[in-house]
Amino acid sequence: MTTAEADRYALRLHKVSKAFGGVQALNRVDFEVRAGEVHCLAGENGCGKSTLIKTVIGVHQPEEAELIELFGEKVDRINPVKARELGVSVIWQDLALFPHMTVAENIAFDDLVGLRPRSVRYREMVRRAGDVLDRLGVDISLGASLSDLAIAQRQVVAIARALMNNARLIFMDEPTASLTQTETDRLLDIVRKLSADGVAIVFVSHRLAEVLEIAERVTVVRDGNLVGVYPTEGMTQGRLGELMTGHLIEDEVVARDLPDAPTVFQATGLTRRGEFSDISFRIKAGEVLGLTGLIGAGRTELAHVMMGMRQPDAGQMALNGASYRPANIREAIRGGMAYVSEDRLSLGLLQKQSIEDNTVISVLRKLTTAAGLISDTQKSRLVSHWIRELGVKIGAASDAISTLSGGNQQKVVLAKWLATEPRLLILDSPTVGVDVGARAGIFRIVRSLAEKGLAILLISDEVTEIMHQSDRILHMAGGRIVEEYDPRAISVPQLEEKIYA
């Protein structure tokens, strides 16, 4: 970036305040993004990031703002349509695309919006959408239905749509939350390319490693207040986490040896054709066993077999010393297994039901009275026990799950499984989409559960997480366990190299 460019700003906000009810969502916050810069907006869930973005594009009007300036021009009142016309685009986490429309139509959709009837020129639409994809250097079939695309490709379509509107400032909300490492790298390449073209990108991500890799500067917001603006050069993940949460995030290897602990689960030569083969390992009581590797290495499939959701083609499993071969997930639960799935939002919780009903769903049988009906007293006793134990922040236990933040939802999933009193807990990517503070909270719980003798299989592709939580690490690649590491004998970069090499 030349000095002349560095002086130009895509966005300047000075002393912007916004309150909802009694909650001060933004308190005299300053936020500046230079033209063509990759800027990261960091903060915990609920710190005001989304409010800030929505204020920039005029979804919310601030109560007080000393200055709002877009591309060097002062803006008084703005609305989403006007913001788009000025060249500001927001790519929300859910992408806001149309699954049953074609790629071309998704990219060019904003041209169609409006009530003045006019005819649709498909040929021109396809040509223009193709030009944008060429500019991004990606090859996606323009005639394909969006629903046939992988998430990573949809992400690219969303970016193309922003560029179609001649965006010069693009906000990206958690763009990499559901991408694999390779896909993330490809996305980051596109972000760099756009930045080189003079498009400013504001990146919102919970993955701090990524933030430090891609962004030039980072603005940290906490509880609606500006903490500060920092260059990413010389910044560490630990320091950034500390700035975001306001307290130190312990990031140290806590691995222990458990020589006397009995084996809870053992797999021998476990094979499922096309997914994984010859998997042998054991987990002891109180042990946190990390299982890492690239997405597609067969980790989730292995977990499914352990839970009886799929059947292995060969090999044995033993649980508490006895042979174990669950025909379905109910048998696995009865045997003492628990599984917190990767996709908690769609698979792990009933979003519209209450917190208490979600908590007790897997143990309804234990709560029945002699008449076979659910006992409300027992139910509320169980629910309040786990809410207290796990420190879930809730209004009332009868509130819908969807009212909770990601981190708290994750805790309810945990509560639901812990209520079954398991011997082995499988955690599959437990912190996807969970912010750094809540993440620390979840791992504090995991630790204390392990201390109490619960065996835990932690599946994750976040290397730092695996390093700092596990007692032992298994590395899975191409459906096989390729190596076992002791976290005390290896460093994060070394492990990263092993996995991504």
């Binding site: 989403p80 992408l95 806001a96 699954p99 049953h100 959709f109 919006v113 009530l115």
Partner: protein, 330 residues
């Protein structure tokens, strides 16, 4: 090319099934593949198809309408009273009255849905009952026979006499039906309004964020349905030459079934004119064929039910998956 194939799987499949059924029926029932049978099939399907394209627009926009057939009856009755009251009128006034009355009833649905945030199935079940109740109450269930001559006159757009002296003819409703199909196709496929309807049905929140005017979209969808219901009511009188208040009651589910059979997605964002036509014709041909074969009408109901189950459950089986696997292994 493969993209196009994937996008039109349902239409393609239904087309093949329809051709097979037609071929089988031509062999089994000699009267089936004759010009007189084909033309009467079209004449009798005209009203259903007019409704179907209207309903298609509502389904695409993510709604559902149960009230349209009864709305047609209401429009018929009111238009007959009005036209007789002003001394007869003519086709122009007939279209004007029926069209605008239909639109009004459609907009009433849209207003209830959007204004009070009630889901469309609940609103239209309510209006279905309200429309029908009001109609029966005020009409006393009495038919109207003394309609203006222009309305009940047969207007032929095609005539042909074969060697045996049997006439084949297509009447005005078929021409109007073609007009409605073309107009609906232009609306949903060729205009930005139509594409916004698809988007709204596909992802309402995404559409709202993109700046699509949701209230107007509901109005367009249900207004269009109302317009089609009005026109269908007008045409149905032309076919049967009387206004019978409860004649159309119950037809809505047949049409809904046919449109869903044609690939329109309950839940919005998906559906084509071609599929809609094929769906209606599939139902019509099956009914006609079974009739010619002398099969009980109850068997027909059963077969349509089975066809819907098969169509819905097999649409989850992705044919293109099969082709992709073949490509991968070769």
């Amino acid at each position: 090319m493969r993209d196009a194939f994937r996008r039109y799987t349902i239409e393609l499949r239904l087309g093949v099934v329809l051709v097979v059924i037609c071929a089988l029926l031509s062999v089994a029932a000699p009267q089936f593949a004759t010009l007189p049978n084909a033309t009467s099939l079209l004449n009798n399907s005209a009203v259903n198809l007019i409704w179907a394209v209207g309903l298609l627009v509502v389904l695409i926009a993510g709604g559902i309408d149960i009230s349209f057939a009864v709305a047609s009856s209401v429009v018929q009755y009111l238009a007959a009273k009005l036209l007789i009251g002003i001394g007869g009128g003519n086709w122009l006034l007939g279209f004007l009255f029926c069209g605008s009355l239909g639109i009004l009833l459609g907009l009433l649905n849209a207003w209830l849905i959007h204004g009070f945030r009630i889901i469309s199935i609940v609103v239209t079940i309510a209006t279905f009952n309200a429309f029908f109740g009001l109609l029966m109450f005020f009409s006393g269930g009495r038919n109207i026979y003394n309609l203006p001559d222009w309305w009940t006159a047969r207007i032929f757009i095609f005539e042909h006499e074969n060697a045996q002296g049997v006439w084949s003819e297509l009447t005005l409703p078929v021409a109007v039906m073609i007009g409605c199909i073309v107009a609906t196709w232009v609306l949903i496929k060729r205009t930005n309004i139509g594409r916004q309807l698809y988007a709204f049905g596909d992802n309402p929140e995404g559409a709202r964020r993109a700046g699509v005017n949701i209230a107007v979209m509901q109005g367009v969808a249900f207004g269009w349905m109302g317009l089609m219901a009005g026109i269908a009511g007008l045409m149905q009188v032309n076919l049967v030459k009387e206004v019978v208040p409860n004649a159309l009651y119950g037809r809505e589910l047949d049409v809904l079934a046919a449109v869903v059979l044609g690939g329109a997605r309950l839940g919005g964002g998906k559906g084509t004119i071609l599929g809609c036509i094929l769906g209606v014709m599939f139902v019509a041909v099956t009914q006609n064929g079974l009739n010619l074969l002398g099969v009980s009408p109850f068997a027909f109901q059963m077969i349509i039910g089975a066809a819907i189950l098969v169509a819905i459950s097999t649409s989850n089986i992705d044919l293109s998956q099969f082709f992709r696997n073949k490509e991968a292994s070769s």
